[in-house]
């Protein structure tokens, strides 16, 4: 029987697990949360589902629980090796899971959105606020300022209003002319996304009463130490300051690539989404033949597409394991691939409407929050050193060397390399990622030795 370890119990990981169990594989799913669902369906087993998508998440979580695999909750993976091994910790104990195949369904993280003061207490991400709503049923105490753009921002705004919260205003970073640019992509988006588009328009209507300041190009979080006001600047040169004790920011999401980077998988630059993603075939098989990827960790296409890409990865793994003949895989994959292509068409519309935005990055902006390295420090070491890459910046300044391992500064260093040295983004390089992917105590490491002795 083929052994498969799946990292992540969101829509992609759960779908793959259900499918692989159906194909009689031995499946172990590990996930860092106490219950299945991933971020999108956080707490889905205990909270009231809101809407169609939530209900499908609740159903999937139930099928996943009934699928008969091993599910290790509150467990973090800190090393993934082709071979294939997944090193995990749970409650202070480390262990190694060995498998024939590993599926990384680790999802997305929010794209860092640096501006002066973004590290202050009182500035959080929209995703963080949404997790607080889903897992702790809490909302900002006072009318809250939102800054950024993208579907998650609109979704949270709607959820916040529904939950009885209120919005002080939206500092919209969407550049000018995006709706006009997106017009050619509407048709290609309709088949998959008409329902989401209708929903999005409905949110915009509900947001009509909210104060919106458009075309923001610069932000500053002011306060000592806690946020007391927000300074902003628009593309039209309007500059002003508003009082605030909480600012929620969002600049889209990017695949969480630390696991695939550290496992030595090849990555490619996605020009539409301005991010790296693991290079893989239609089944999510990476350049390491026993490592597969699915869901937003493979490419940002949203939760509904993650249901499908999880199943596709399961088919690919079953085929690679010799459990399914090629014709059967091709037949089953055809429909999934067609719908996924429609999902990509919808995504192209979203990416055009809400592109990632580079706000002004003045010298005093904190690039690396962990090691407290500013933009001026990074610019200084890059200037006059055309061959210095991200790892050189890390060595000299310590940016990217802290506990978050560059999750919050990797793309900013990438941006500064392009700013100082020019050249295409795919040549700018990225921080080298090394295990442990999550912090590990010596005691936990030692517990690994004790087991194998």
């Amino acid at each position: 029987m083929s052994k498969v370890v799946i990292v992540g119990a969101g829509p992609a990981g759960m779908s793959a697990a259900v499918e692989l169990r159906r194909l009689r594989c031995e499946v172990t799913v590990i996930d860092d949360q106490p219950s299945p669902g991933g971020r999108i369906f956080a707490g889905i087993e205990t909270r009231q589902p809101h809407g169609r998508e939530d209900r499908s998440g609740a159903t999937l979580a139930r099928h996943f629980r009934e699928s008969g695999g091993t599910y290790l909750s509150a467990t973090e993976a800190w090393q993934i090796e082709s071979g294939a091994k997944v090193f995990v910790t749970h409650a202070g104990q480390a262990r190694v899971l060995e498998a024939d195949f590993v599926l990384l369904a680790v999802g997305a993280q929010e794209r860092p959105m640096p501006f002066p003061g973004w590290e202050r207490p009182g500035v959080m991400t929209i995703g963080a606020a949404q997790i607080l709503l889903k897992t702790a049923a809490q909302v900002p105490r006072e009318p809250v300022w939102l800054a950024g753009s993208g579907p998650l921002l609109l979704l949270y705004a709607r959820q916040l209003l529904d939950a009885g919260g209120s919005i002080a205003g939206l500092l919209d970073t969407t550049p000018k002319g995006r709706v006009w640019q997106a017009r050619g992509k509407v048709y290609g988006a309709l088949r998959y996304g008409w329902r989401d588009m209708a929903r999005g328009l409905n949110w915009l209507v509900q947001m009509r009463g909210v104060r919106v300041i458009r075309h923001i190009v610069g932000l500053e979080a002011v306060g000592d130490p806690t946020l007391s006001s927000i300074r902003y600047r628009t593309a039209n040169g309007v500059a002003d300051e508003v009082g605030a004790n909480l600012l929620l920011i969002h600049n889209g999401v990017v695949p969480a690539i630390h696991a695939t980077l550290s496992a030595g998988c090849s990555h490619r630059w996605n020009a539409d989404q301005q991010c790296l993603e693991p290079a893989c075939d239609e089944f999510g098989r990476t350049s390491q033949p026993d490592l597969f990827v699915a869901g937003d960790g493979a490419a940002i296409n949203g939760a509904r597409a993650a249901f499908l890409s999880g199943r596709l990865a399961a088919l690919g793994i079953a085929h690679a394991a010799g459990l399914l003949p090629g014709e059967e895989v091709a037949r089953s994959a055809a429909r999934l691939t067609r719908v996924l292509n429609d999902a990509r068409g919808f995504r192209r519309l979203i990416d055009t409407l809400y592109p990632p935005v580079d706000l002004d990055l003045p010298d005093d902006t904190m690039v690396c929050r962990c090691e407290e390295v500013t933009a001026s420090q990074v610019r200084e070491v890059l200037s006059g050193r055309p061959h210095l890459g991200a790892d050189g910046v890390k060595m000299i300044t310590r940016a990217g060397m802290g506990p978050c391992q560059g999750r919050q500064c990797g793309y900013t260093i990438h941006r500064l390399i392009r700013e100082l040295h020019g050249g295409p983004p795919e040549d700018a390089g990225f921080l080298r990622v090394r295990p442990p992917l999550k912090p590990l105590t010596l005691g936990e490491l030692a517990s690994l030795e004790a087991q194998s002795a």
């Binding site: 009182g122 959080m124 897992t135 702790a136 049923a137 009885g164 004790n245 407290e372």
Partner: protein, 103 residues
């Protein structure tokens, strides 16, 4: 900065201590959520400049929500879930590894 919304579900309660003070909270909610309800003034100081920080990403990726939980310093409060008797301390001074060693 945050408040609970009313209704929807009745949650089982547990008692936790935050800097020595007992609070009744929802069992299983992220510790960071509790800290964000209790105070606006951050949860830790950075070891480098001593700047104050608070939870930022709530998904284990940013490491800004580090506090001491049940004697273990620099634990992500967003990835730790409230249990009866949990002992939580904000890290408003530099983490001191020798204290953990002595314990």
């Amino acid at each position: 900065m945050y408040r609970k919304i009313g209704g929807e579900r009745e949650q089982a309660k547990v008692n936790v201590r935050v800097d020595g003070e007992v609070h009744s909270v929802d069992r299983g909610e992220p510790v960071a959520a509790i800290l964000l309800r209790l105070s606006d003034n951050g949860v830790r100081r950075t070891p480098i400049s001593g700047a104050v920080r608070a939870p930022f990403c709530m998904m284990g990726a940013c490491f800004d929500c580090l506090v001491e939980i049940d004697g273990r310093p620099s634990t992500r409060s967003c990835m730790t879930f409230a249990q009866e008797g949990m002992e939580i301390r904000r890290q408003m001074t530099r983490p001191n590894p020798s204290r953990e060693h002595a314990a």
